[in-house]
């Protein structure tokens, strides 16, 4: 059972208090009607599905019910970082010393207009 630092409580909690959803940083397009069929298909159907460093969203469903992001190595299940959506992910990646080429996220991220989360 994984053990995570809850970024809102700032303490270690059991995995069983959380639900884990799909990839993080996959912002919904601001104006979906202007997105091509292909890009929309990429947005709703395609995920990074990484073997290695994965950015994912978790929610505490037994307590404060806040969503946050987790960087997890899908091979070892090691959790490298947890952070709130309003934290600077670039800084977190830099602090962890993760090489950019090891980061694989859905292609759609680059194409779509990004938002803060």
């Amino acid at each position: 059972m994984l053990y995570v630092r809850d970024p809102y409580l700032n303490e270690m909690r059991d995995q069983t208090e959380y639900h884990i959803r799909s990839e993080a940083h996959k912002a919904r397009p601001l104006e979906p009607s202007k997105v091509s069929d292909k890009d929309w298909g990429d947005y709703i159907f395609f995920f990074a599905n990484t073997k290695g460093i994965h950015f994912e969203r978790w929610v505490n469903f037994t307590g404060h019910r806040k969503w946050f992001n987790v960087i997890r190595n899908t091979v070892t299940d090691e959790i490298l970082a947890t952070y709130r959506p309003d934290e600077d992910v670039k800084k977190i990646i830099a602090d962890l010393g993760i090489d950019k080429k090891d980061i694989k996220v859905s292609g759609v991220l680059k194409k779509l207009k990004k938002k803060s989360s």
Partner: protein
């Protein structure tokens, strides 16, 4: 009854306390401190069971958790337990146990017929013979399963109770032998919170087997009590005996089972739990589980009286039992010599058969001095005796060790000890994702590296020398304490009398008189009855990988999980393939490490506590009025209220009719309710619903559909605008939780800039729904402060008022098409509200109805139930609900997907009504709608029936269905096939069957 094999003195037993017990119907005496196995051996009982497949007689083979043979049926009746390991079962007074897998008795077993034909039933026999013809297998399976197998489950409820405990600690030490004790002491000295667990009833591990070993100038047994009293002085160290650590998961999460009162006997636990399941989160873990001895694979090595050489020693020193007085010990390493010496001192005649060619060990001199004969470069080629070893036959080994040569010699004996080296207990380390490396010299897998905070010490680290073990444990203990955030101290220093081991000779298969394939049986997995030739057969048939090997021969798949067999099996396969053992690889060790009762895992979560059962505030009334319940999500909801012995069909017909004729009332408290506030609440709802809510006037309600981003319907409900920045949303009963989480997700991750506050209020309100032409009349009797006139209180609005003094919000919404009032009151008034309604409704014969009638009523009006009529592949347009999809809004969840090619194509499955030609036929839900009139293959499936009922109000059965291009089929006939093979003709019609004009909504 005399204990023939009990030594006059020695052992950790209390000779003052005699315990009587019954085994296979015979009475015996043992002592407090015995296990069932040691007590049986004390009484010279070796034969304890029949083997799994061939029904061969089997005896006690070990003295611990690795025991493959001595599995017994413990007690009878509700306290009965199958497959209990006699070697771990602490003896208690009046214990009763039986042998397993034998009929009528362990000595005369009918199933032993399998032995005679064993040549013809090798690995894979049953599947090869029966599987090609499945029907044959289905027939024979139950007979085969009966002859192969272990104990019998009682089939009765478990009378015991079990506890569960979750703890957090700095250092968990698994294993309480010398290594574990030193680790715990040193970790404890750092100030760390330490838990030390051991599966035995007392700490000491290997020290209990070799009590005379010298440690720090003391006898091991005295040294252990010394260590324990030092540990006892540390308040921060908790010592837990009788507790097996069984699972090692991510982030140092471990599970353990403590046998709290098992040793007191069945039903004698008092108020204490039988067992306790520990869930432990440790900052640092030290594994000190020792090592297990491996059996030697010579012919007939499974006879009762053949046991592990170290176990002979354990029985002597720990239990004061000499299991046989004429012993042959066969070995490939030095440790067995210590067993030989202890057995000799206990009064046995001992002969050693060592497979090694040259013996240089100082031990050789020692044993020779004492008069023990050592046959080197020799091996056992046969074991004589049926129910007990009588003699062994021995031959010289050839140079390459592949065959036996020379004269055969018989040595009479009544006990055989075997040792083929040691296997570090790396199970937990491996479960923790630790990598193992192969030590070729000592033939063992030892821990290499692990991502978790774990250290292995002593035997389980492959450290076999006692001095090294103790010093490595001390250092590890300090390190673990320090790493978990405690102070640094200097590690204790230890010195034990060491012995320089002469390397073992590794002959994985001990050759017999004949080539292995034609020789007597050489067992490597005793519990699953797998032999060396089974492994070779697996190899010949191409099952080369360890995973295939394991499944083909069932090696390592019994309840002992191959503790004694795995390495031998891997080595033989490696030899067969001409590879090294690491190249062949190991299978993954999985929890639990040792067999665990399901009761311990379930803990208190049984019976009523097994699953949450949510009940509404009105539940007491439903119960006292004989409601039949159905589970809906976590809820138990009243399904119908049978009267005068009605069945469901009759009750539902009556309730359905009564509601439309006069008035009915339903408990709708389970409906999901979500309170949404904030200045952006309207904007937010516009994005999550297909229609517009920002334009809804305060005091009004609107029905809405929620889609997922794929454009598919996934929930629905009515939402009311309470005030400018305040909405009250309702969801389906089952969808309440996920809709709530989804709203939070969207708000927090997509639109955090919006000011919206979302709160679940499902449990805060009780809801009673009045339906039917007389509902206003009933309500007016108990609600005086709301004008119920249609003009003053129109459809799709709500009013606040009081009902018999209870503050209430009344919504004029309808899921039946009738004049309807949905009355919400604070939950604590729910029952009172219900009783007031029933009382007021009496003069109109008010009919309480349940979910089943609700389904019929809504189906008569063609209203969907999300999850029954929809399956996550339907757009609002597929449901014919285009009217609810806003054309004006630039965006809402799911809108973009409408334009996808597949979502917008013609001829998708669409939601329609069905009327059978014969009005009395109620189509089964799920029935397939097909093109042809017959069900001969291959038929094209056009869709399926989603809802189907007899409608008393229409006087006709009705059904709702999803059919490809259904809208264009209206007025046409389709065929509906049932699982019984019948085909019915039905007309495709509109989904509204009753009151098509919608006149009844205003009474």
């Amino acid at each position: 009854m005399t204990q023939k094999n009990r030594l006059p003195k020695g052992g950790r037993i209390n000779r003052q306390k005699e315990l009587s017990f019954k085994y296979d119907g015979k009475n015996y005496i043992g002592y407090d401190g015995d296990t069932l196995a040691s007590a049986l051996l004390a009484n010279d009982v070796h034969l304890v069971g029949r083997s799994f497949k061939y029904h061969r007689p089997r005896g006690i083979m070990s003295a611990g958790v690795e025991e493959p043979n001595a599995l017994v049926q413990l007690e009878t009746g509700e306290y009965g337990e199958p497959n209990t390991r006699a070697t771990q079962l602490e003896l208690y007074n009046n214990l009763t146990a039986k042998s397993q897998n034998c009929f009528p008795s362990v000595k005369y077993d009918i199933g032993a017929f399998n032995r005679l034909i064993s040549r013809f039933i090798p690995a894979g026999f049953y599947y090869k013979t029966f599987m090609p013809n499945m029907k044959g297998w289905m027939f024979f399976e139950k007979f085969i399963r009966r002859t192969a197998g272990l104990g019998k489950s009682t089939g009765l409820p478990d009378p015991d109770h079990y506890a569960r405990k979750t703890v957090y600690c700095d250092v968990l030490v698994a294993g309480g032998g010398p290594a574990g004790l030193v680790s715990a002491l040193n970790a404890g000295k750092t100030g760390a919170r330490v838990i030390l667990m051991d599966e035995q009833n007392e700490m000491g591990g290997w020290g209990l087997t070799s009590p005379n070993m010298q440690i720090d100038g003391k006898k091991a047994i005295d040294w252990i009590s010394d260590m324990l009293s030092k540990i006892a002085k540390l308040d921060n160290v908790q010592v837990v005996p009788r507790c097996s650590v069984i699972g090692y998961f991510d982030y140092n999460f471990l599970t353990a089972v403590e046998r709290v009162t098992d040793h007191l006997g069945a039903g004698n636990g008092g108020s204490k739990p039988r067992q306790r399941f520990w869930r432990i989160r440790a900052k640092q873990v030290i594994l000190a589980q020792g090592a297990l001895e491996r059996p030697m694979l010579f012919a007939e090595n499974d006879k009762p009286g053949v046991m592990m050489s170290s176990s002979i020693r354990t029985y002597i020193n720990r239990f004061g039992v000499l299991a046989g007085d004429n012993i042959v010990i066969t070995t490939n390493n030095d440790t067995a010599y210590f067993s030989a010496l202890d057995a000799l001192n206990a009064g046995a005649k001992v002969t050693i058969i060592d497979i090694r060619k040259d013996l240089k060990s100082d031990l050789l001199e020692k044993v020779n001095e004492k008069g023990i004969t050592v046959h080197k470069n020799s091996a056992i080629v046969n074991v004589k005796g049926a129910h007990r070893v009588k003699a062994v036959e021995m031959m010289k080994l050839s140079d390459d060790g592949k065959s036996c040569i020379g004269e055969k010699r018989e040595i009479s004996c009544n006990l055989v000890g075997m040792s083929s080296g040691w296997t570090p207990t790396v199970h937990l380390y491996s479960q923790a994702r630790g990598k193992l490396k192969w030590d070729e010299q000592r033939t063992m897998f030892i821990p290499d590296s692990c991502q978790q905070n774990v250290q292995c010490v002593g035997g389980c680290n492959g450290t076999m020398d006692m001095s090294d073990t103790l010093n490595e444990s001390a250092v590890s203990g300090v390190k673990a304490g320090k790493l978990s955030g405690n102070k640094s101290v200097s590690a204790t220093k230890h010195k034990a009398v060491s012995h320089t081991e002469q390397p073992p000779r590794n002959l994985w298969i001990i050759p017999g008189e004949k080539p292995i394939t034609r020789d007597r049986k050489h067992f490597h997995d005793f519990q699953n009855d797998a032999t060396v030739t089974d492994i070779l057969l697996a190899g010949r048939e191409g099952y080369l990988s360890v995973e295939h090997l394991k499944r083909y021969t069932t090696t390592g798949m019994a309840t002992d999980q191959g503790k004694t067999s795995n390495i031998n099996a891997l080595a033989i396969m490696a030899e067969y393939r001409g590879l090294t053992i690491p190249e062949v690889g190991t299978t993954t060790f999985r929890p639990p490490y040792s067999t665990t009762t399901i009761g311990a895992i379930a803990g208190e979560a049984v019976g009523e506590l097994f699953e949450q059962d949510r009940r509404t505030p009105m539940d007491a009334w439903h119960k006292s009025h004989d409601a039949v319940y159905e589970p809906v999500g976590d809820w138990s909801r009243a399904r119908y209220y049978p009267k005068n012995g009605e069945d469901m069909y009759e009750a539902v017909q009556r309730e359905t009719l009564a509601t439309r004729t006069s008035v009915g009332v339903m408990d709708g408290s389970t409906l999901g309710k979500i309170d949404i506030r904030g200045k952006d609440a309207g904007k937010f709802l516009d994005l999550v619903y297909t229609n517009v809510f920002s334009s809804l006037k305060s005091g009004f309600c609107r029905y809405g559909l929620m889609l997922n981003e794929h454009g598919m319907v996934w929930d629905d409900g009515v939402t009311a605008r309470i005030s400018e920045n305040h909405y009250h949303m309702t969801t389906t009963t089952g969808g309440a939780g996920r809709v709530y989480e989804w709203l939070e997700e969207l708000h927090q991750t997509e639109w955090p800039e919006m000011e919206v506050f979302i709160t679940s209020v499902t449990e805060q309100y009780a809801v009673a729904t009045l339906n039917g032409p007389n509902s206003a009349k009933v309500l007016s009797k108990i609600c005086k402060d709301i004008d119920l006139d249609n003009e003053a209180f129109p459809f799709m609005t709500f009013r606040n008022g009081t009902i018999s003094g209870i503050p209430a919000t009344v919504y004029r919404i309808s899921f039946t098409g009738e004049l309807s009032y949905e009355i919400n009151v604070p939950a604590r008034y729910g029952l009172q509200l219900w009783q007031e309604i029933i009382k007021a409704g009496k003069e109109y014969d008010i009919c309480p109805y349940g979910t089943e009638t609700m389904h019929v009523l809504r189906a008569e009006k063609g209203f969907i139930i999300v999850g029954q009529d929809t399956d996550g592949t339907l757009t609002p347009m597929d449901l014919g609900m285009n009217w609810i999809v806003s054309k004006k809004k630039p965006d809402f969840i799911g809108k973009r997907s409408f334009a996808r090619i597949d979502t917008s194509r013609q001829g998708r499955k669409q939601f329609v009504g069905l009327l059978t030609d014969d009005k009395n036929i109620i189509l089964p839900e799920g029935a397939h709608i097909i093109e042809s009139k017959s069900i001969e293959p291959h038929v094209n499936m056009l869709g399926h029936v989603t809802s189907s009922y007899m409608s008393p109000n229409c006087g006709h059965s009705i059904a709702l269905a999803l059919i490809e291009d259904g809208f264009n089929l209206k007025g046409k006939k389709v065929n509906v096939a049932t699982i019984e093979g019948k085909v019915y003709s039905a007309s495709v019609v509109d989904t509204v069957f009753f009151d098509k004009e919608g006149k009844r909504i205003n009474g």
